[in-house]
């Protein structure tokens, strides 16, 4: 057993346990400060995991690989976990009890995501997904005094459990038809399937497993939980859901498609199904976001639309598409974290998440106004920000696959329509920041007092600011390693 291989996951778990222990000896008023240590610890774990990168790549036998794709996603997960932990710290005043548990659960979820990044067998896939989902059941309902948070927890629990059940049934079907659990073993066995009924079972199994993963990704028709859960969960948890949990689904889908389903990749129906889902997801997310006034709900729908774009990259079933997806996600994390951080700070003061609470933000806190504006613009995909390069890479991957993909022009058309629609609601947020009139039903004009920003949130905002502009102007390093990570993903088959 090569423990070094999973040192990142062990490190994250140990960090979580350490926080729980240290909590016992920490005075109540200083517990929130633990967040700095957790964030620092996570950065340390990340640095350590790079030092051992070359020393061992797992074999199929362990069900876990540490290839460049896994490392890319693990870096991504740790980055978003660090940002989320810092955000949690600035959110701490609203958590009535158990802030340390919140940190610890974030670490445990990170461990699960990190396992997902390297999962190479159906068993580990299921375990990783459950590790993530179960921690999130707790996290979403963490603010027990808020009804909405409880509602979010229950909804996520029921729908999540149902999707897990579907997924585990799918895994059983795959195992039953191919007799293998390891991805490559599944692929080998599926190639040799002569029996039509067995092939059908295998295909059904793959579809059901994918369905469980699409639930994480929030793709139509598995998107119903998103708005309520995003709105109800504590803001840092929402952030982690839309960055970490979503990406865990994506890396698993990538691996499952590339490693376990080569016999299906050539099938037209799989491409058409994915393409249809991509178009439906983009349009559904964009259209539903149009009339939202609750900021977290709005971003929830926008995250559905983004999931659609990720699918657009996946549909191409090409290395180029996968590379674009990886870059898009990295760009996405800065936009989403930046936006949610500002929303978290602004909504604390007014205990409201209505879009009108942003009024006068440009005057009250130029930093927050700038970062929120840039985040939103980046999510909308406008130069010169990171999101634009991501969207550009996705679109060019999609367009270049038109030749092998007859339905693609329609999907691209739907995506373009979705983008134009999305401009409306994204720009509404910008309008509220710069010339919003506040609540139209309120008597008094919106406040113009300076809005203080907690130190931890400030750090997050600055990181996001540099990330958004830096990745927009100099995307090459990330694009390069994303290219490395996905180099032989699909073409190897």
């Amino acid at each position: 057993m090569d423990l070094q291989l999973v040192s990142l996951e062990i490190g994250a778990c140990l960090l979580g346990i350490a926080v729980l222990l240290v909590d016992l000896w920490t005075p109540a008023e200083r517990k929130a400060q633990l967040g700095w240590w957790v964030a620092g610890g996570l950065v340390g774990v990340l640095c350590y995991s790079f030092t051992i990168f070359d020393q061992g790549t797992g074999t199929g036998a362990t069900g876990y690989v540490k290839d460049s794709l896994a490392v890319y996603f693990q870096g991504y997960f740790v980055l978003s976990a660090v940002l989320v932990v810092l955000l949690t710290q600035s959110y701490a005043t609203r958590i009535r009890s158990g802030i340390s548990e919140l940190y610890a659960f974030t670490c445990f979820a990170l461990a699960g995501m990190s396992f997902a990044a390297g999962a190479n067998s159906l068993v580990l896939l299921f375990v990783a997904v459950e590790l993530i989902t179960i921690t999130f059941y707790v996290l979403t309902s963490f603010e027990r005094h808020r009804l909405r948070s409880l509602e979010a927890g229950i909804k996520y629990l029921i729908l999540g459990a149902a999707s897990s059940a579907i997924m585990v049934f799918g895994i059983a079907l795959i195992y039953g038809s191919t007799g293998a659990l390891d991805f490559h073993g599944v692929a080998r066995a599926a190639n040799g399937l002569n029996d039509d009924s067995m092939m059908l079972l295998y295909q059904l199994g793959v579809l059901m497993t994918l369905g469980g993963l699409f639930f994480k990704l929030a793709a139509v028709p598995f998107q119903l939980w998103v708005p309520d859960v995003y709105q109800g969960a504590p803001t840092p948890v929402t952030t982690f859901l839309s960055t970490g949990s979503k990406a865990a689904g994506i890396v698993l889908i990538l691996r499952l498609l590339a490693d376990a389903c080569p016999p299906l990749l050539g099938e037209a129906w799989l491409r058409q199904l994915l393409a249809l889902m991509a178009a439906a997801t983009i349009l559904y997310g964009s259209l539903c976001a149009l009339r939202q006034r609750n900021l977290k709900r709005l971003l929830g729908y926008s995250s559905i639309a983004s999931a659609g774009f990720v699918l657009l990259g996946l549909v191409t079933l090409s290395d180029q598409g996968a590379q674009a997806v990886l870059f898009y996600l990295t760009a996405y994390v800065f936009g989403v974290v930046g936006a949610f951080t500002v929303i978290s700070v602004v909504s604390e003061e007014s205990s409201d998440e209505d879009i009108s609470t942003l009024a006068n933000l440009h005057q009250r806190s130029p930093l927050m106004a700038t970062v929120l504006t840039l985040s939103i613009i980046s999510l909308a995909g406008v130069p010169p920000l990171a999101g634009f390069i991501g969207k550009f890479a996705l679109l060019s991957a999609a367009i270049s696959s038109v030749a092998v993909h007859p339905v693609m022009p329609w999907i691209i058309g739907a995506a373009l329509v979705g983008v134009v629609i999305s401009f409306y609601y994204y720009f509404t947020v910008i309008r509220e920041i710069f010339w919003g009139k506040g609540r139209f039903w309120a008597e008094e004009a919106p406040s113009t007092e300076p809005l203080p920003c907690p130190r931890a949130a400030e750090v997050v905002l600055l990181i996001c600011l540099f990330g958004l502009i830096g990745l927009g102007l100099f995307p090459e390093p990330i694009l390069f390693i994303a290219g490395e990570a996905t180099e032989y993903l699909f073409s190897a088959n």
Binding site: I377, V419, V420, F427, W435, E476
Partner: protein
């Protein structure tokens, strides 16, 4: 480093500097913006003046040392080039350089931008944000006119999108400014997205974003015979670019955002947008779509010629009915775009030269007209022409310039617009005699009707009863307007200054003319 990099970089760098200056230092923002655009203008004049001699005579101005690139730059007449790797993974370079068309557009843009920073003095609140956005917009569009990498071109042009939205929303005027802000943003982003799809498809066809290697690779006819770049594909890409860029320019029937947006925008924004940014779509049509997709052009240009009648005729008629001065100028500016489209649709050397001349002339004119109407608004707080009468008596300098601007708008000889429009008609006559006839007729008659009517109500006669007290432009306030009029007259009386430069882009035109149907070429 190429001087072009500085022309684009100065405004952008100043925007960065202004971002860290505390917002109380209001004078700093004004003068910072003026200084940066003045620097760009002076450099642009310098590049314009030394553009002509062969590049080998000028030590220190040698373009990229890469020999293959140099040969291409020499072949297509590009100078002051600079090429740096930017995003190798996506095969994107920072690649700038100008040919004859590029340099006249850069000069025009720098002139209008410089004037716009002076006309922005009406902004009295939140100057910091305004000037940062204005400089971003300026740097972006200056860069777009000099990009030789099609991705870079698109990227830099898009920098203007968000600033436009915020500027109209925050400093805009009128009841409808929110609606106008959304409308302009949604239209422009739709146009931009269609263009983006077209650009990506071009890249997939040519395997490069570099405009020059695309042009060189453009042995399209051979490719068509070999079946790699089919006419169908060309048609699709050309349609994407034509309608995408057409929306950005205000091609009928996608023009409705333009008058509304300009009338709601603050003065400097309207000047930059109507004068400069709107020209980008035309610029890209001439530089990218025509030479690279001759077969697609052959299919679509007759349709463009028909649609341009919509601009000239329909928008001219709409302009006749306007009571608001800004809406009148806005509609007339959309109508003027029709001439450029006509010139483009003709794909003759004369027509294209004329199109570029109209682009330059109209850029200066739109800047001037919106600047003047913006000044009037800052004085009178209204632009309703029924309330504003007989202004010439109280504002002689302003009134004189306004008359000149409106006269230039209906194509009076002596202004650059006349030279350009006439050239367009010469070029288009051979290809589209009927459309050209209708175009000339409406340009002369309809244009004259609304322009002269505006002069009569606004300027001549007795001061109206409802007309508020207004003050004329004083001292240095006259500078930006005088500058624009002077250049309009200069190019009007001596159009050779710009036609000489434009003719350096002959290689581009020649490649574009492959799209001409052979029969029509025979008649030339």
């Amino acid at each position: 480093m190429s001087p072009l990099t500085y022309i684009m970089g100065l405004p952008l760098a100043m925007a960065l500097i202004l971002a860290v200056v505390p917002s109380e230092k209001r004078q700093f923002f004004r003068w910072g913006a003026r200084l940066a655009t003045l620097g760009s203008l002076l450099l642009a004049i310098y590049v314009f003046s030394v553009f002509d001699p062969p590049i080998t005579d000028q030590p220190g101005l040698l373009p990229t040392q890469d020999t293959e690139e140099f040969a291409l730059e020499d072949k297509y007449g590009y100078k002051f080039t600079q090429r740096v790797e930017w995003i190798p993974s996506l095969d994107i370079h920072y690649y700038v350089g100008v040919d004859g068309i590029g340099i006249v557009m850069v000069l025009m843009a720098a002139l209008v931008a410089f004037a716009a920073t002076f006309c922005a003095q009406e902004i009295r609140t939140r100057e910091k944000e305004f000037y940062i956005l204005l400089l971003l917009m300026t740097g972006g569009i200056l860069g777009a006119f000099m990009s030789l990498d099609v991705f870079l071109m698109y990227f830099l042009h898009e920098l203007a999108l968000v600033p436009t939205f915020i500027m109209i929303g925050v400093w805009g005027r009128g009841q409808d400014k929110d609606f106008a802000a959304y409308k302009i943003t949604l239209y422009l982003s739709l146009g931009a997205l269609l263009t983006l799809a077209g650009v990506i498809m071009l890249y997939l066809q040519f395997g490069s974003f570099s405009l020059l290697s695309m042009m060189d690779h453009g042995t399209q006819f051979a490719a068509i015979e070999a079946g790699t770049f089919s006419v169908t594909e060309q048609n699709v890409i050309f349609a994407l670019l034509m309608f995408g860029l057409g929306i950005l320019v205000g091609l009928w029937p996608f023009h409705t955002w333009a008058p509304l947006g300009y009338s709601a925008a603050p003065t400097a924004t309207a000047m930059m947008h109507a004068g400069v940014i709107k020209k980008f779509g035309l610029f890209m049509l001439i530089k990218v779509a025509l030479p690279l997709l001759p077969q697609g052009a052959q299919t679509w240009l007759p349709i463009l010629a028909l649609l341009c009648l919509g601009n000239i005729l329909y928008c001219g008629l709409v302009a006749m009915r306007q009571k608001d001065l800004n809406l009148l100028i806005g509609n007339s500016s959309v109508a003027h775009m029709g001439f450029v489209f006509l010139g483009i649709a003709s794909v003759t050397t004369i027509g294209l030269t004329g199109a570029v001349m109209v682009m330059v002339a109209h850029g200066l004119l739109a800047g001037l007209a919106f600047g003047l109407s913006g000044y009037l608004y800052s004085q009178a707080r209204t632009l309703d022409m029924e309330k504003l009468q007989g202004l010439l008596a109280s504002m002689p300098f302003w009134g004189t310039l306004m008359i000149m601007a409106l006269m230039a708008g209906c194509g009076l000889p002596g202004f650059a617009n006349f030279a350009g429009e006439l050239t367009v008609f010469f070029g288009a006559w051979k290809v589209y005699p009927v459309i050209t006839t209708i175009g000339i007729w409406s340009a002369l008659v309809i244009g004259a009707v609304y322009m002269l009517r505006a002069i009569r109500t606004l300027l001549h006669g007795m001061k109206g009863e409802q007309t508020p007290e207004v003050e004329d432009l004083k001292h240095w306030q006259r500078l930006p307007y005088a500058l624009l009029v002077a250049v309009l007259l200069l190019f009007g009386f001596y159009p050779k200054l710009i036609t000489d430069k434009i003719s350096k882009s002959n290689a581009t035109f020649e490649q574009a003319k492959k799209g001409q149907a052979p029969t029509e070429e025979a008649t030339e």
